[in-house]
């Protein structure tokens, strides 16, 4: 038998078997890869929502034309002829065509012979209306409906025995002053429900007619777009992005294990993610949510729009996926390290994933409980957060941020780990201050639980605010230390400007801005001004997107040759990288100024003085989209036409570079033997790397000691 390909990507004998080998797989690499495809898809969906949000903000407002029945037209010419004069103008967000919903109303067709003579309809509030058929102008009224002087039908208002309001439409009675026989009537019962009744004296048919009802305003679509963007990006993209996708693939390999500790739990976590994703998708199809991703009460418990409950359940279910992954990683790191690998011999990516996993396991249950309480309040009217039911809306904010602030570190800590790996490999340098970086990850994880109320400086009590402001500054210190360490790692390195290294530099640039704009928000008096403005939007996009997303894309390039076995095009990778970087900064840097100028966030329309800044920002979002599309093409090209990747394309020292590209089914042919640390770049030629291309520095007697 010829050489048998034992890579995890090798197809099985038949197509069906190949498919089933993915469906039933307990291989962490396959699960990670499925996660990767899913999160990239979610990134695309969330990105489309973001593009639509930015497109809507291209112009401050747009004048729309509203008719008396509430229909909205973008152009007066679209309105029916008769209504054009009575149109009122209103200011709404731009860009989207309005969507009209339809309501069914009770009606009576008044028949004259076989043709419909007139239709009498109850409007939403019960008041009647009659539509007369087109006529020659002479006999406008084939049914002889009593008309006033101006030609409108006469309704008489009465009250029946039960006190219901009744409008009666009568037949014309030219012979006497007595009113003619009742043709039809509309009754409104005590609950305000209209019903139409046929009268006597004519052939009539009761019916319901479907009419344009309220029109969803363009603002509402904007609100659902930004809510969609937030919920998808937070719960479906950024939280699973690095840990569940790249972490799943590389955590076991980097510690020399065959798989994670509980492979089946890992598969379950993936299917729970899919299940939660289906709930989220259902919510979007059923109308979406317009609560923002934060679901603040009592707005979220009282809003009628969309399908908040299914989105809450989606986030609840996705939480379990996150908890399972976290549990699995904690046990794997504790129990499955290759013999000889102590805690301080682990790559820093593992430290970061470990700290992340701790937060996931400890904080996510709080979110689950909170969201369940919200679901109970919405479905059963149990008063927990809604003041109308005796609840406390601020309590929800406390519960929510008790999870969602640590969740910020679930998002960013893995990115810290990735950056430590990429910098060391591409600078061929021992990471500066290994222990400081490792411990700062743990410190950030611990302090992250104590700072949640800084999201509530305008809501909570002043004393609590002072305490939380101080605690928030505490978390800034370990973060600052990491940035200093990364820059120091580049000192006297041998820096190869590959795409991953380029992205590491982009990360340092953007994350430093994101980090340095944290103190104005942690400081009480300045936060009062900046709270809930675009300054906050810019700040967290610089941290989340400029931090996590840029690190994630860098990491994709860094490990792409390893987990696909193909090289990508370096030139176009860098072109795409620069486009993303420039686009990102154009989009978000201007938003800091919008924020200090007082532009509140989540605004579908805005004052004209912000127009230029919004236009610049929207323009940047197009550049960003172009950059990501180039990346997509580069990856697709690599999959189909990329040249085969060597085992160790960059000269890395951690264990994933010792196995095949792509790795074998059980990662290593035999259990790896640890002969060096992950960052011994000054003493060891990396395995499977050409020593001629890897000169080692001359060592003198007073060589520096290891960490």
């Amino acid at each position: 038998m010829a050489h048998h390909d034992v890579s995890y990507l090798a197809p099985k004998e038949t197509f069906l078997k190949t498919v089933m080998s993915w469906v039933y797989t307990i291989d962490h690499k396959k699960i990670g890869l499925m996660y990767l495809v899913a999160v990239l898809l979610m990134f695309f969906l969330g990105g489309v929502a973001a593009m639509l949000v930015r497109a809507q903000l291209w112009e401050p407002t747009r004048t729309v034309f509203v008719s008396e029945d509430g229909s909205v037209y973008m152009n007066p010419a679209e309105a029916p002829e008769g209504e054009r004069d009575s149109l009122k103008t209103e200011t709404r967000g731009i860009f989207f065509q309005p969507i009209t919903t339809y309501v069914s109303r009770p009606a009576v067709n008044l028949l004259s012979g076989s043709t419909v003579g007139a239709v009498i309809t109850a409007s939403q509030d019960g008041s009647p209306s009659v539509s007369l058929p087109e006529s020659d102008g002479q006999t406008s009224n084939p049914l002889n409906i009593a008309l006033t002087d101006d030609g409108s039908p006469i309704f008489t208002e009465t009250t029946d025995q039960r006190g219901n309001k009744v409008w009666e439409l009568r037949r014309e009675n030219p012979d006497s002053d007595e009113p003619g026989p009742v043709l039809a009537s509309i009754t409104v019962d005590g609950r305000g429900n209209p019903s139409a009744e046929a009268g006597s004296g004519l052939s009539t048919r009761k019916t319901t007619i479907r009419e344009p009802g309220s029109t969803i305003t363009t603002n509402n679509i904007y609100n659902r777009m930004f809510s969609l963007h937030g919920t998808i990006m937070v719960f479906l993209f950024i939280i699973p992005s690095i840990p569940a996708a790249l972490g799943n693939i590389f955590l076991p390999i980097m510690i020399g294990a065959k798989d994670v500790a509980f492979p089946r739990l890992n598969l379950m976590s993936w299917y729970i993610y899919v299940f939660g994703g289906i709930f989220a998708l259902y919510s979007v199809i059923a109308g979406g949510v317009e609560t923002g991703w934060t679901f603040y009460t009592p707005y979220s418990t009282t809003t009628d729009w969309g399908s908040v409950t299914s989105m809450l359940l989606a986030a609840f279910i996705l939480g379990f996926s996150s908890i399972f992954t976290g549990m699995n990683f904690i046990v794997t790191v504790h129990k499955l390290r290759v013999p000889g690998m102590g805690w301080f011999d682990m790559p820093l990516f593992i430290w970061a994933l470990y700290a992340t996993a701790i937060i996931q396991v400890l904080a996510t249950p709080v979110l689950g409980i909170t969201l369940m309480m919200l679901v109970f309040e919405r479905m059963f009217g149990i008063g927990i957060f809604d003041p109308a039911l005796g609840g406390d809306p601020v309590l929800f904010q406390h519960f929510f941020w008790f999870y969602s602030h640590p969740a910020v570190y679930i998002m960013i800590l893995p990115a810290f780990g990735v950056i430590s790996e990429m910098l060391a490999v591409h600078c061929r340098k021992r990471i500066f201050g290994y222990r400081a970086i490792a411990f700062s990850s743990i410190a950030i994880a611990a302090i992250s639980f104590l700072v949640w109320a800084h999201h509530m400086f305008t809501a909570a009590s002043p004393v609590a605010n002072v305490i939380f402001s101080a605690l928030t500054f505490l978390v800034a210190i370990p973060t600052a230390i990491k940035v200093f360490n990364w820059i120091a790692t580049m000192y006297k390195g041998s820096i190869a400007w590959t795409t991953p290294m380029l992205y590491s530099a982009f990360f340092l640039f953007c994350f430093t801005i994101g980090g340095l704009t944290g103190p104005p928000l942690a400081t009480l008096s300045t936060d009062i001004h900046l709270h809930d403005t675009y300054f906050v939007v810019a700040h967290f996009h610089y941290v989340m997107m400029g931090g996590t997303v840029l690190a994630f894309i860098g990491a994709l390039h860094h490990w792409w040759p390893k987990f696909t076995g193909k090289m990508y095009n370096e030139f176009w990778g860098q072109i795409a990288g620069w486009t993303v970087f420039v686009g990102f900064n154009v989009t978000f840097f201007i938003q800091f100024f919008m924020g200090t100028q007082g532009m509140p966030r989540r605004y579908a329309t805005y004052s004209p003085e912000f127009e230029l800044m919004h236009k610049i920002s929207t323009f940047g979002s197009w550049l960003l989209a172009i950059g990501f599309l180039i990346h997509l093409v580069v990856f697709a090209h690599s999959v189909f036409a990329g040249r085969k990747a060597p085992r160790n394309p960059w000269g890395g020292l951690s264990l994933e570079w010792e196995t095949e590209s792509p790795p074998l089914e059980h990662n290593f042919a035999r259990e790896p033997v640890l002969t060096h640390g992950p960052y011994d770049y000054d003493t060891v030629v990396p395995p499977h790397y050409d020593p001629a291309l890897y000169p080692l520095p001359e060592r003198s007697d007073n060589a520096p000691s290891h960490h």
Partner: protein, 392 residues
């Protein structure tokens, strides 16, 4: 620590004073309109300059290292220590000290913001989707409107150099009271009061006797914005009102004009007064059951046991001024007397408004309201007797 704050703040204040209203301050902030703005801005600049210093330093090193130590074929990365205790302690402690200054400075000016002076003029703020309402100490809600972003909104005025305290609560979901020029923001909750105070420092408007409204002094500066900063649904972005600052004399004139409701027809005034006095907290106008009888369709209904035996002008007047004299059977006697809180014309307005809520009498109410307006406008006409209107 306090010394450090004072020193930094005086340096920053001097620097920003020199730059006052330059391109630099205009780039960052709106007009500085309150006593909070200078200290908040100074602290912001302090944080900004520190951040800018570190950013330039770090990015300078990044670019310098990136070029100087770029990979050259055959050249090894020179040895260098992977750890330096002194350096690492330095870059932990220095940021910690800088952060501590930011924290104390920020907390100190924040605590000034949350404790309102006892001599403050109190304005009641009520907010609902999607409208702000201010009730001034004389009971007035503004009549003056101004178009903000193409929408007619109430116009709010404040006196300069006076402490003003806002006592706020929401009627539905959470809103947030935000005036960027004052650098204040506070969330408004349903079923709870929150407060915020401000001392405006710049006059933006003056009272125009002829137009009988406040107009901008400088046409290029149309006044400040009041924004809602907590997402509250469809028209969240359109809850923008104009806020103006007047001299104290002008403010008094403006305020008196707002309280003068003689030009408002009775039915509209009735709605306004009922809303401003919180009548709708208990009385509904759509027939639904509140903690007091609804107003819908009650006009002319029999009320056996009351003086006139039915709901009419006298009945409404008595119910407002002496609510305990006749209580509708089956309802608690828990309404307070509005004696002295409400003028005769306002009582008449409420009664006419209630009359208009009964479709049978709506036309009569409209007619009466119109007649009363005409009588007000023409001095020659016979004064109309509210309690003996020409009615059957």
């Amino acid at each position: 620590m306090i010394d450090l704050i004072n020193t930094s703040s005086s340096i920053i204040n001097t620097a920003s004073g020199a730059l006052a209203d330059s391109w630099w301050t205009r780039m960052w902030f709106r007009h500085s309109g309150s006593t909070f703005a200078p200290s908040t801005d100074a602290l912001y600049y302090y944080i900004f300059f520190i951040s800018a210093f570190f950013f330039v330093l770090l990015m300078g090193l990044l670019v310098y290292f990136g070029i100087k130590y770029r990979r050259r074929p055959g050249v090894a990365a020179p040895l260098s220590p992977a750890h330096n205790t002194k350096l690492e302690i330095a870059w932990s402690v220095i940021p910690a000290i800088l952060f501590a200054v930011m924290f104390f400075w920020g907390a100190r000016s924040y605590l000034k913001m949350v404790v309102s002076p006892s001599d403050s003029e109190v304005i009641q703020v009520s907010v609902w989707r999607w409208q702000w309402e201010w009730v001034y100490p004389n009971g007035a809600t503004p009549i003056q409107n101004e178009k903000v972003n193409d929408r007619e909104m109430p116009f709010f005025a404040l006196p300069v150099d006076t402490n003003v305290k806002f006592v706020m609560s929401s009627q539905d979901v959470i809103h947030s009271f935000y005036i960027p020029e004052f650098r204040i923001k506070r969330d408004c909750f349903p079923n709870r009061y929150t407060t915020v105070w401000v001392r405006p420092t710049q006059v933006t408007h003056r009272w125009d006797e002829d137009l009988e409204k406040a107009v901008p002094i400088d046409p290029r500066n149309p006044g400040y914005y009041l924004f809602c900063a907590e997402y509250c649904g469809d028209q969240h972005s359109q809850m923008a009102n104009r806020v103006a600052v007047l001299t104290r004399t002008d403010y008094q004139k403006w305020l008196e004009a707002q309280a003068d409701t003689s030009s408002i027809p009775l039915i509209e005034l009735g709605l306004l007064v009922s809303r401003n006095n919180g009548c709708f907290a208990c009385h509904s106008v759509d027939g639904s059951r509140g903690s007091a009888p609804t107003w819908q369709n009650i006009w002319n209904q029999p009320r056996p046991g009351s003086r006139d035996g039915k709901v009419d002008f006298n009945y409404v007047r008595e119910s407002i001024l002496e609510p305990g004299v006749f209580v509708v059977p089956g309802w608690p006697n828990n309404m307070m007397s509005y004696q002295g809180r409400i003028t005769d014309r306002e009582i008449l307005a409420i009664a006419t408004y209630i009359q208009s809520l009964n479709p049978e009498f709506a036309a009569q109410a409209q007619e009466f309201s119109r007649q009363e307006m005409e009588a007000q406008e023409s001095e020659d006409a016979d004064p109309i007797d509210p309690l003996e209107p020409e009615m059957n």
